[in-house]
Symmetry: D2
């Protein structure tokens, strides 16, 4: 049986394991002060073309979102996000645990709209009672979104422009960043993305690493006590080398993008398989997550052969499902899927 | 140059890396629901002789302390700990971030005293204003302590008994648990320790793993929503397999204790080297951390050859230093130390 | 100029001021342990027909909501409320500050619907990812709602029944409780309301007091450390007598309901005045808040004579406005309104 | 029976009650935007000789401490205070509830020492592990202290100077400010105190008001969202007029200092009574709290006639007691005390 349930079903890219083994007995200081982290940071700074960027390595996505958001917000400020944003739904209230409200905006295939963001802010400040409400303090978007969609350069520029107008930092959750940038639909690259936001992270967990997310402040303006802040959030890894080695490997010889491109190619095949069978999609996703709408019969046919995730049940009895590819998706898995669907 | 600065200067035990490589492309579900975690839990339950224990795998120490403590305390309760307890000093206020005060007790070579604990509690409730103060809600001790010392069975029984009398859960921070249990000075084993507390964790990060701490509720009475609570704390690893594989390996063929014994043996050699040179110790530690008191001259002699940590400066100008051994300490390092000190 | 902007524009009912003056130099202990608080509690227990109720006096509404909600929820639990609930909108994130998410339900003229609540809960637990989400921990409703509407007995019974089924405490925010109970549209009294929820509060600030809200646990099952919890929330008044005297007065000779009835009578007159002038209402409110829809011209006519609140601007250019009456509304104010509107 | 147990056993100064009655039916906006608050602020600005000061009225002491401290600290910062500081002991963990650690310094009759503060800070930054610890973010002192003692001008200048050197805001808890300033031992006045700190509050609850504390940022540099922050802390009183009227009255015709002087005069009489009887004191307090050391026999003699507070039991069996006077202390009470003691 092959699984397309998510993009974290395997371990790590083999080059990462190899590098972990090679460096295993080298003695290095803890807490991210090792030479691997330094090397990885240098490579990331080069990849984003920002020599002064502040970079920190954290372990997982929810942790990273919460640490960044709580690090940038003042007490009574909240973070604006799409209703479907990961922080609004699937992080068990981590943002609220740190004291901040997630202020939700309408979503369009997982994306927020610059004009609606602006209208929200105008409406907020037009309401005389606004000092009694949570103050907007930053904007969160994910690239790609939870629905696999991506913002165009123009859309990002518009959002960025509204953020600047209202002095709101723009934060891009890049848990699946590679899969967004590697999409043929993407019209931006890493340096461009870095130039359009105030902080973002490069997801490792879902893109080839065992764990790890690289937080980047492109302008080198991380909050003063951000190291201590990470520690306070329980997000400082003692053996920071584990993260340093992984990101150093991912940013050597363009590995991060190469393996992302593999996932996108595999997703294209998945898409074609369903299309050829006349199966419709819930969303037209250009990245590694595909959302075919299946009938009970079609789902039964897959049972025991192909695993996938049920996303939601439609009123007509069919199911929105999710098939995720990744750096690790094999040709065998694709062929098995083709066999079963056809 | 060899480093004795801490017990997390290397990667992981080679068997762990080997196992990570072997299992790398096996597809498994995320968030700790993989078969490796299940297997590791079964082995730990056996090792502690508690078939019904609830077990959770988290990533790092501060995170684990905060998640457990916040998970067991009610809002206005605090945690009692030695003044030198890790949670009281070196966790950047993670406990306070989660809303709870660390109530400090006097320390004796890093340990709290059952009689003093009892006296504190009696004094607390004797003060008529106690409802205006943070309520004691649990007791935290570390085994071994931050000073490398360990509690005897009798001491643990006394503390446990006071806790029971006052209905306070007893939590044992086992970040270096293996090094405590493997000490010749220890008069308890793992099942005994499990029987004397309400929750503890088995430290992986400092005892052979890349990362990971195994949280154990020996009586199977973890809080109802503890999984969600872990997620909320940003402490739920997506690729839980990374933790499962590591603990499964550490609890196969008694590896956890075997490598701990190595560290203790190496620490014995370190001790002998300093003793032979007539160098005194700040504390008589029976575990993997040794605290020789060095003069500036002695420290200079080590420069460039042996790295270690400066713990504190004494009024007479000498320095308390820390030399930590671990599962990874080599004979070469010991010999180099011997050469320099003699 | 007369103001209908809100129901807290004046000081306190004269009997309260009189009683404050009479008792002023009597020496009493602080923190709610005075004889006035005791007397007030006894009278409230009698009024709700619950001899064992636990009662606490707090100062203001947001504070009371936050203290109750944080007192009843576990860490990763949230509170279910209408999208328009005061805690969801106008409390500056106080609930989130205490670590909890407000989970919002659709509102119908400010009210939630039992069937929708049930559907939400069914949907929540049907989603396999629910352990990754904030857990529902209690239900919040306001009586009357922020739109002046009230739940019928049948509606409350239905909501209460769903709450019981899912073991969710039901909390009724009674900031304007008197104005709800005194409405001719109400088909419940105070003992009935107390029997349908787990905790509620009797609003004083908006119903005749200078400040003060009486929190009631009808079943006498307040959380064990609730006193300390109140203190921790900064909600424990040193001179508790100020609250005790006020509630003792309000619950002597049925004053609380009598002055509430006055407000409702005045609201009826306000309603008639607008109706007679052919002015429509945004909501058909049976309590002390009325929401006529005015044109710019109509608003101009009121300028300088009658103050009111603008609630929202409609797409057609008209304005939803709010006219609130209270225990303090005078016949002169009503006559002036009549004069201007006709 | 007369009570000296604390300084909040009575209601309010009669002029306050009178003013509340006179203004009762005047309609005013809520949330501190009423004309009484404006007038009170103007008078306080004049009294402290700071025309640009930002002033906010809160309800009680713990609430005020927590709102100010949480408002000025960043996430991972803590507040330095004497071990005996109110925030460190008697506020039920309100500071920790808001996420911040109280970092304690030695106390000398309730006071911290500038040299020790400096030494603490030097030691903190000299420790290489300091980024793993809670960062010092502000300094809290109380004037008078919890032991009734007061800082001299020179002491305050020294503390202020260390704070400036380390860019730490200095916050003075003035819950009993009047009783400190009115003491013959005080060598500072209100404008001087305002000039030596960054934020302080003028205690009303214990000095003639029913409730209320006036928070002052003498330099007019309150945090941008402080109003919303107060609301989030549940500390914004709906009928702000209650606070405005009280402080307006207290700062009319120097009432605040006059009634404080009365308390100090009464405390002098209490002191003399005990001294004449040869009864020693635990602390030589120059303010309204006196701490005679009584034997069991002496305490028995007072029973049923004079109430007081037991502070702590001494090893020799005697008791440190507290006798507090206030604006409300009567000559009859003093005479009764004299009668019983002699």
């Amino acid at each position: 049986m092959y699984s397309f349930t998510c993009d974290y079903t395997e371990g790590a890219h083999p080059l990462i394991l190899q590098r972990l083994a090679e460096t295993n007995m080298i003695q290095e200081p803890g807490y991210g002060e090792d030479s691997f982290c330094e090397s990885a940071k240098a490579k990331i700074r080069k990849a984003i073309d920002r020599p002064d960027a502040d970079i920190f390595f954290l372990v997982g996505g929810t942790q990273t979102n919460c640490t960044i958001i709580d690090g940038l917000l003042e007490g009574c400020q909240g973070v604006l996000a799409a209703q479907t944003g990961h922080i609004a739904v699937h992080e068990a209230g981590a943002i609220e645990f740190s004291g901040h409200k997630v202020l939700t905006l309408p979503q369009h295939q997982g994306k927020i709209d610059a004009a609606e963001l602006k209208a929200w802010l105008e409406g907020f400040y037009a309401d005389e009672t606004y000092p009694h409400m949570v103050q907007p303090g930053m904007v969160y978007i994910s690239f790609p979104t939870e629905y696999g969609t991506i913002y165009s350069r123009a859309e990002l520029e518009d959002i960025s422009s509204v953020c600047k107008q209202y002095s709101l930092p723009l934060f891009i959750d890049g848990a699946r960043l590679g899969y967004g940038l590697a999409s043929p639909a993407a019209d931006i690259d890493l340096p461009t993305l870095a130039g359009l936001c105030d902080v973002f992270y490069i997801g490792g967990t879902k893109v080839g690493a065992l764990c790890g997310e690289a937080v980047v402040f492109p302008n080198g303006d991380a909050p003063k006590h951000f190291f201590t802040h990470i520690k306070m959030h329980g997000a400082l890894l003692a053996k920071g080398r584990l993260l340093g080695i992984q990101f150093d490997t991912l940013f050597t010889d363009n590995l991060y993008l190469k393996i992302s491109e593999h996932a996108i190619k595999m997703a294209g095949k998945v898409k074609t398989i369903f299309e050829s069978a006349g199966i419709p999609f819930f969303i037209d996703s250009p990245t590694n997550q595909q959302f075919p709408i299946l009938t009970s019969e079609q789902m039964s046919a897959l049972e025991g052969k192909i695993a996938f995730e049920i996303w939601e049940k439609l009123p007509d009895g069919r199911f929105v499902t999710r098939f995720a590819t990744s750096w690790a998706t094999t040709h065998e898995a694709i062929e098995e899927l083709r066999l079963v669907i056809n």
